[in-house]
Amino acid sequence: MAAAAAAAGAAGTTAWSGLLRLCFVFGLSFLSLTGLLLVQLADSAKNFEDVRCKCICPPYKEHSGYIYNKNISQKDCDCLHVVEPMPVLGPDVEAYCLRCECKYEERSSVTIKVTIIIYLSILGLLLLYMVYLTLIEPILKRRLFGHSQLIQSDDDVGDHQPFANAHDVLARSRSRANVLNKVEYAQQRWKLQVQEQRKSVFDRHVVLS
């Protein structure tokens, strides 16, 4: 009986984890596609600030070195167009300009902005989740499962163990199979896996030392 339930649970899980995995894969491809799209967008609406022609002119005679910077199209990116006002006069212009080095550069400020925002939001979410797992969840658990379970959980997992009670949840998720429980089940399964990984990396030092 128990075995049959377990089998049903296992079948459900595989389907569920497959779905999760698929979601993740699509998320990843979506991310890369968005990246591409953003680049395209940024290219088409080339921001006014996103190109520059930078000329570095070394010291020449009595004039000290100077850096010129201008928004200008690539074909105009040379000393004659960018260096304004020209510090030298007449015959010296050519000699001065020969020493200057002009570089045309582009960037995409939208890409940078979006990337940093995406990165920071993922980091923020992860941090929140981490705080939840390590600090808040154990406290919540304690409040929810009254005193008797508290002692037990103190016994076998130590009080703040965030990845405990997986088996409990597994048992419950089988009886009430709704979506929330499935999510919780997947989460517990993941927690167990991470726990295994942590043991092999940090405690036993069998991999990655």
Partner: protein
């Protein structure tokens, strides 16, 4: 039925031939030790389980391969899980390749049936290219994200862009006209922390404030990185290349290439780089790309169900990883070929090429460095080099080799300490301490305060008149009116001398810190720090040679090329050569390294100096120890990796290596038709072997096939659940025909479907040289040893590795992962003989049994709060 079987048998003969023809000629020649003998007339006997098979014992290889794949057909309804592998186990390449051929054939034969089948076969044919395209796209995009975010976060240690918070220092001053020639990176929009907090930009107060903020950010980034790694994905730490090498050679580490590992590695890699630790992002990027490859391969049944095929995708993914890490697509392909891949057929070469191309294209269109190039350090000089310069280049090669040898020794000793003593129990503390020391020492020295790749960039560039750094503070005669590109060698000014001192200090600092940094529990690559060390040393040597040539231009070696007023020495080139040499010394790569470096810098003219230096560093390094850092880490961790580069020169025989040894109990074998389910379960519970040879009977001892432990347990479990009338006393039958049983006995359990009827066998007198070659080239997991057709023993990959280790007379053998895993996995049957529930390889025990394991778990909260 019979005709169908015959038909299939014919098929499989072809399939076997095509497998062998797909492998290289060399393999065929070297594999000749195993006698592959096709005797079709005997086939039926074999299948019928006739005793006459044994009279011709060399048959087992040739004859039975035909029938081995056959089993997949006999199976009406495959038992889920059979043919998969446990965590920390080795895959059987031969079996996987057979499986793939079989699948391919099935799809091909169905192709003509309907349009839908046709579409399916097309999808199948294209899935290889699709998966590498997706992998390339994803790894390019992730690399762009990592580059941009890491640049921004690195600059966050110094200050912040008030007008737009998401810009790094350079982007912040992008359009500013206030920058001056001397102070190029100052602009009013960019505020240092001192300016923001105490309101002054200069003076000792602001220096101290900046110092404090630098340390604060470095510490918090490092702490965040290590705690994220610890809480979410412990496998995300380290460089990842040793593990990927092992995985590509056929090892299974579940979760190592999973989605959490990918996410955490991407996120924490940025933090780790930004914290200013002496590490790079190149190695971890390979891991990130491999994670993408693994995740995308789940979309395609061709790759998700076959471990060997998945490894082809991973090979291509690692090429894409290097391609985006260095902006070196060809170098990436060669890296995959030379360094990481184990099995690299031409098809994989093309796919790697394509994946590298796609990834590089995506990264280029993201343009993370704003210089329309893939890499940060692109050199623009094309000054020639002269023959006498080969001498300093070779000297740099010697330095690189010495550094490599020293680094490998020191780092391995330190990692062993971490592995085996109590000190390894405090990973978070270790990261914090290393980060603190790095930050405190790095800040005062401008060359170590810089981001490492910025430092390399500065060391690589040549001193034109446009450069303002103190490295280029030469004494100029101002009235010389030469064109920019051709500046003669000049005497060094005060700035250069002070820069050299600072560089020397930076060199010592980097050397020491890198030894302690590589292997801490954050994502950490080795390429960039190694290159930085080489570049610093190279630049110092370059400046020395330059000054020598300036002051002694009448020496006979300089006379011909370095007259007065000529530009003959380029210190930046020396930095490049030094970087290549040091990287070569550490990783012992040659071809791919040279290609990576010249793609990295765009200096096509400098291939010969690079080759000379890399070759020298490899020779010098090899003189001190033959293995590179990755092999050394593989050996330290005890991964079952059979290096294809090493030669086996000993004269031992298969009988000397095989298990059981003389003193051991006899080999645990199953008989083909007179064991009960209980007998088998007992045997599984009592032993820890991963597979059992199946013999005809105790009397004849002739080999029938090989059954894997995992397959047996899964098959018995599922039979108990699904089939009626299977009890402990049921006969288990591996033969094709069930023996006649007494009427009242329970139904027999037929397990022929899980039996591998083509186990590789060698005779007890086969030289180990040949056995090792078979294992390497065919990627076997185990091989049976027979004598006159009687099974004597078994040789596994592990036995071979142990044997090699013994022969090398090496230091104490470290306990390999499988040793611990034996302990970790309880037998799959509880004490009451009932199967425990199984959930996708995670075996759940009642909490009571887990208790002792929980106690030994390092307490998460205690160690993260510190």
């Amino acid at each position: 039925m019979e005709s169908e079987q015959l038909f299939h048998r014919g098929y499989y003969r072809n399939s076997y031939n095509s497998i062998t023809s797909a492998s290289s000629d060399e393999e065929l020649l070297d594999g000749a030790g195993v006698i592959m003998d096709f005797q079709t007339s005997e086939d039926d006997n074999l299948l019928d389980g006739d005793a006459s098979v044994g009279t011709h014992y060399t048959m087992t290889n040739g004859g039975s391969i035909n029938s081995s794949t056959h089993l997949l057909d006999l199976l009406d309804e495959p038992i889920p899980g059979v043919g998969t592998y446990d965590d920390f186990h080795t895959i059987d390449w031969v079996r996987e390749k057979c499986k793939d051929r079989e699948r391919h054939r099935r799809i091909n034969s169905k192709k003509k049936e309907s349009a839908w089948e046709m579409t399916k076969s097309l999808y199948d044919a294209w899935s290889g290219w699709l998966v590498v395209t997706l992998t390339g796209l994803a790894s390019g995009a992730l690399a762009g994200l990592i580059d941009i975010a890491a640049d921004w976060m690195t600059d966050l240690k110094e200050g912040i862009c008030l007008s737009a918070l998401w810009y790094n220092h350079e982007q912040c001053c992008w359009g500013s006209n206030e920058t001056t020639f001397e102070e190029r990176d100052k602009c009013p929009q960019w505020k240092t922390w001192a300016e923001l907090i105490i309101g002054q930009a200069e003076g000792p107060g602001s220096y101290i404030m900046n110092y404090i903020m630098y340390i604060f950010w470095a510490l918090s980034f490092a702490f965040l990185a290590v705690s994220l790694v610890k809480v979410f994905a412990p496998y995300a730490c380290g460089s990842g290349i040793p593990e990927i090498k092992t995985i590509l050679s056929g090892f299974i580490i579940r979760g190592y290439l999973g989605k959490w590992t990918l996410m955490i590695k991407t996120i924490t890699l940025v933090l780790a780089v930004a914290s200013g630790l002496s590490l790079g992002k190149e190695g971890p990027l390979v891991h990130v790309a491999c994670c993408c490859g693994n995740i995308f391969s789940y979309l395609f049944p061709k790759y998700s169900t076959n471990e060997a095929k998945k490894r082809e995708v991973l090979s291509a993914a690692s090429a894409a990883g290097v391609s985006v890490a260095f902006g070196a697509p060809i170098g990436g392909v060669l890296f995959s070929l030379e360094e990481v891949s184990y099995y690299f057929p031409l098809k994989t070469l093309w796919r790697s090429f394509f994946a590298a191309l796609v990834a590089a294209f995506v990264l280029r269109s993201i343009n993370p460095f704003g210089n329309s190039r893939l890499v940060l350090f692109y050199v623009e000089y094309h000054t020639p080099w002269y023959l006498f310069e080969l001498f300093p280049f070779i000297l740099l090669g010697v330095f690189g080799g010495l550094w490599g040898a020293f680094f490998i020794r020191a780092n391995i000793a330190w990692c062993r300490r971490r592995k085996s003593t109590k000190f390894g129990k405090y990973p978070v503390l270790e990261v914090i301490i290393v980060a603190a020391i790095t930050a405190v020492i790095a800040f005062p020295n401008p060359y170590t305060r810089l981001n490492t790749s910025e430092l390399i960039k500065e060391l690589f560039t040549d001193c034109g008149p446009l450069e303002s750094s103190s490295l280029c503070d030469y004494r100029n005669d101002m009235n010389a009116s030469k064109i920019v590109d051709d500046i003669p060698d000049r005497p060094a000014g005060i700035g250069v001398y002070s820069a050299i001192w600072q560089l020397c200090l930076a060199l010592i600092f980097k050397i020491i810190m890198t030894v302690f940094t590589f292997g801490i529990k954050v994502p950490s690559g080795l390429f960039i720090p190694s290159m930085a060390i080489g570049a610093i040393a190279g630049r110092i040597v370059g400046i020395a040679v330059e000054q020598l040539a300036y002051y002694h231009h009448d020496w006979f070696i300089f006379k011909e090329w370095c007259g007065v007023g000529t530009d003959c020495i380029t210190p930046g080139l020396y930095a490049m050569v030094g970087a290549a040499a040091c990287l070569g010394g550490v990783t012992r790569m040659t071809v791919s390294l040279v290609v990576i470096v010249f793609e990295l810098t765009g200096g096509l003219e400098y291939i010969v100096p690079l080759m000379a230096a890399v070759m020298t560093s490899k020779w010098v390094g090899d003189a001190f120890g033959r293995e590179g850092i990755y092999e050394a880490h593989i050996r330290l961790n005890g991964y079952p990796f059979l290096d294809a580069k090493e030669e086996f020169t000993h004269t031992t025989l298969a009988a000397d290596v095989m298990r059981p040894r003389r003193s051991d109990p006899p080999l645990a074998v199953l008989t083909q038709d007179n064991m009960t389910v209980d007998d088998i379960e007992n045997m599984i519970n009592e032993t820890s072997y991963n597979g059992f040879p199946v013999i005809m009977s105790k009397e004849s001892q002739r080999l029938v096939g090989f059954a894997l432990r995992r397959d047996l347990t899964i098959a018995i479990e599922s039979a108990r659940k699904k089939q009626e009338g299977i009890v402990g006393s049921s006969r288990v039958c591996f033969a094709q025909h069930t023996p006649s049983l007494p009427a009242e006995s329970p139904r027999p359990l037929k397990l022929r479907s899980i039996l591998d009827m083509s186990p590789f066998t060698v005779t007890d007198h086969t030289p180990m040289e040949i056995v090792v070659d078979i294992f390497r080239k065919l990627g076997l997991r185990q091989c049976l040893v027979t004598h006159n057709g009687i099974v004597l023993g078994i040789i596994t990959k592990k036995n071979i590795l142990e044997h090699l280790e013994q022969l090398k007379q090496h230091i104490e053998p470290l306990a390999p992962p499988w040793y611990y895993n034996k302990k970790r996995y309880p037998p799959s049957y509880g004490p009451d003989g009932k199967p425990r529930p199984r959930f996708n390889n995670v075996q759940l025990n009642p909490i009571a049994e887990e208790r002792e394991q929980m106690e030994e778990e390092v307490h998460l909260l205690n160690s993260t709060v510190l």
